[in-house]
Symmetry: C2
Subunit: 197 residues, 2 copies
DNA sequence: TTACACATACCGACTGGTTAGTCTGGCCCG
DNA sequence: CGGGCCAGACTAACCAGTCGGTATGTGTAA
């Protein structure tokens, strides 16, 4: 058996990714040396450059993983067979819970975009846009059917909500008074109340 | 006369700060070398280390400048002789306009906090907390007097709004369809609508 | 008014340290 | 016994901050 796993049973690539995620979130991308990552994962540089092309690749993988998960979840909520306000509320609350559950990923996402190589940056932006557009479509559907106010452009609504999601990694602390679900309910309520006609 | 100015008449320290602000926003703090900054300002390292103690000092100065301006403006709006909903709306809209007018500063603010030395970081956090608390006091005043809904804790309201302000540096482009004032009006309206009882 | 001392403003080569990525070689499983 | 998997020394480049030096202005005393 190839020794892609160690005593703990987790495959080396995943150990590297987990170590990198934690360190990037704690110290920032540039402040984290490749040496630190491999030490935290219990391997050496040889292993890292066997599985990943560059330090940059590691960062890109964090983005890809997060975008994949969020897009899948959004699609599921948006496609549900419910009134549009219920679908939007569910999607808006879910992204809050998911973001809190992966606060490290979120921290890295919004703080380290500019550290990606130009091509990877472009790719991430494109996927992100796809995500936003799906969300915006929900808002527009509600506006067209008169369920939501049309006072504010749907684009702005989306940026408004994702601003607050983005901001979570700055202020949310697990030891704080609110559970992820409570925060999600509050933020979704705020969105829906702002959208009342 | 000491030659603290050059052909363009701007004093050297301010030229350095302006160059650093632009470069930090464009490339990030760690990716910007001291050499680049001094070249952009048309001086050399000797000049930089004559006026500033470290690269870190330069970053801290950006933060201090921004916090000073925002706090002054908030205080002015909060102290005005008007109903609380008008005061909150004015303050909420003003911070949006000011942030858009200094998008580089805002970008650096939210992206580079963790690059500050621990003491400076602590200091910035303290000033920022003071700012938030002043804003929160406005929300609480409105909630106590029944002008705003009490469904959501005031803390969360503040983070909700500043999330969207924070996010501006990610999506707002001067060449886009909305003027800073229009964006500010929309975001302030969203906040006030979410607060309707 | 001149001359000398001192301070401020700045220059730019240099140093000590760090880093991403490479490469050769060896281990071990099938 | 061969190739996927990995070790770890090595390289080439870069960077923050230092330091001795120069130039220009200001105060002071003969």
């Amino acid at each position: 058996m190839p020794r892609t796993t160690d005593g703990d049973g987790t495959p080396v690539p995943q150990r590297l990714l987990a170590a990198a995620t934690r360190l990037f979130a704690e110290q920032g991308y540039d402040r984290t040396s490749v040496q630190e990552i491999v030490e935290a994962a219990g391997v050496t540089k040889g292993a890292l450059y066997h599985y990943f092309g560059s330090k940059d690749d590691l960062l890109h993988e964090v983005y890809a993983r997060m975008l994949r998960v969020q897009q899948e979840r959004l699609d599921a909520f948006a496609d549900a067979d419910e009134p549009v306000d219920r679908r939007l509320r569910a999607a808006a609350a879910d992204v809050v819970v998911t973001t809190i559950e992966h606060l490290d990923d979120a921290m890295i996402f919004f703080r380290s975009m500019h550290h990606l190589s130009p091509e990877k940056n472009k790719q991430v932006r494109a996927e992100r846009r796809r995500y936003h557009e799906r969300f915006r479509a929900l808002v527009e559907e509600g506006q067209k059917t008169g369920v939501f106010s049309t006072a504010t452009p749907a684009d702005l609504i989306v940026d408004y909500h994702f601003g607050s999601v983005h901001h979570l990694s700055t202020w949310y602390r697990p030891e704080g008074p609110l559970t992820p679900q409570q925060v999600a309910d509050h933020l979704a309520d705020l969105l829906l109340r702002a959208l009342r006609p």
